[in-house]
Amino acid sequence: MLWPVLGPRLTFRQRLGVRKTLGRAAYVFLLGTTLVGIATLAALLLDILLDGLPWLSVDFFTNYPSRHPEQAGIRAALFGTLWMAALTALLCFPIGVATAVYLEEYTSQNWLSRIFNTNISNLAGVPSIVYGLLGLAIFVHTLSLGRSVLAGALTMTLLVLPVVIVSAQEAIRAVPDAHRQGAYALGATKWQTVRNIVLPAALPGILTGTILAMARAVGEAAPMIAIAALVYLTFTPVSPLDRFTVLPIQIFNWVSRPQAEWQGVAAAAIGVLLVLMLGMNAAAILLRNKYQRRSEE
């Protein structure tokens, strides 16, 4: 649009030079924007490493929270996180897989399955704090579960269920139709086909999605605050109905304190949380790679 103004004065060759320079400038700019995210990630990780490393020790894992930063530890939060994640996995794996099987194998592409799928994608966009409010009203108060691990896990199950369902759907869809038809040809019923042919083939993909969903659950703070509130716990849960706290809540608690020492303690806890999540992600990636290599053979 600039060219009619400049046009008559410039030869084609000169204009081409301008256009090429513009192209090169754009390339540098676009590469630069891509690096913004990466550079921030590097700064964030470095910041946490430098702040948190001096505070990491064996005591940090075995101590309960304390008024003194040197004695503060994440024992209650770590156990609470493991309890919550384990219960969530137990609840959301069967429900998520069953939903995916129903949607992929038992309904045809009709209005009903459209409603289910639209609903699931809308649920994935609901802010996590809203799930916290749902859990607070239904599980904590109406079902009288109190501020327990179980109430937290139920809430988290509903939150990550869309992730589990969608990844299970993709894994099931990737199983070739020929496998199903082969099973039917041998006289298998629908469920026999699903259980013996489809699910074993889709299992690695389903597990990958579930592990990623658990990693997300471990990092979520907002809905857990609505359920567990900010408590000062000096015990670890021994039953699903005990009170609990999780790592992100503990981190939030420490971050909110003005003294600089607490920022260091928070950074150390963030380091533990990130390593935990990184481990889960790595497990998911390894699983996916192993499965991919096998299917290529």
Binding site: G37, A137, M277
Partner: protein
Amino acid sequence: MATVWALKRRTTRRNEQIIFLVLFLSAMVSILTTVGIIYVLVSESLGFFQQVSLWDFLMGSQWTPLFQPQHFGVLPLVGGTLLVTGLSALVALPVGLGSAVYLSEYAPERARRVLKPLLEVLAGVPTVVYGYFALTFVTPLLQRYLFHDMIVFNALSAGLVMGIMIIPLVAALSEDAMVAVPRSLREGAYALGATKFEVVSKVVVPSALSGVVAAFILGLSRAIGETMLVTIAAGATPRLTLDPRESIQAMTAYIVQVSLGETPHGTLVYHSIFAVGLTLFVMTLGMNILGQWVVHRWRARY
């Protein structure tokens, strides 16, 4: 023999029916979740709206629920959320679109294989960690080099970090839209003598526009619903302002503030978090539906 077969077939058929029922009930969990969310938000809000009129709630410009005299005008909370969201858009829209263009059009395969997973890591960082980063890294940086007298809790650093946080989402969705643009369109433009950047800026991005706009809308919807980052870094001062250096309170941050205190069940303040939650839910749902509509309505078919 025949009777055994028939018997077996009958039990098999009954088992199949039971299985079908179990699967269907599992699928209903997600429907019930939606119903539950709407039911809880509306019914708990009713207790709030019996004491505060809807008009005062939506139009009031003072939000002072925790001290006397109580005012329940939601505008300062909505304003705080939109201020942070607007700031995040300033970062996330250009950077997200730029990253998407680079990854889809320019990046060599080897660079893509490194950069894409790194962006995914950025998307997987817990939001409480972003809050820590905004509070202990970005705010001091801004105070030292740009705004020397800025207070610790401010909308600016929360907004900037929020922008970084939603880059991966905006970039991934925009890139998907650009990858879907057929090669023939690019080759047609090259055949007319266009440079690479002209192909990208005048053919690829306009062709993918509906997907890019949807990516923007969904990214901003995520920013509106984000909780821990604004709670940690943006403050707890409900205030209608356009000055990003001020301390504000976002809708989500208010819900957390009340949740922390174990407010007694059934009080007006308890009900108020559901009224704010309902407002938040309606805003994000509206934007998500808008995003899906944009994709459907304006998707170019090749």
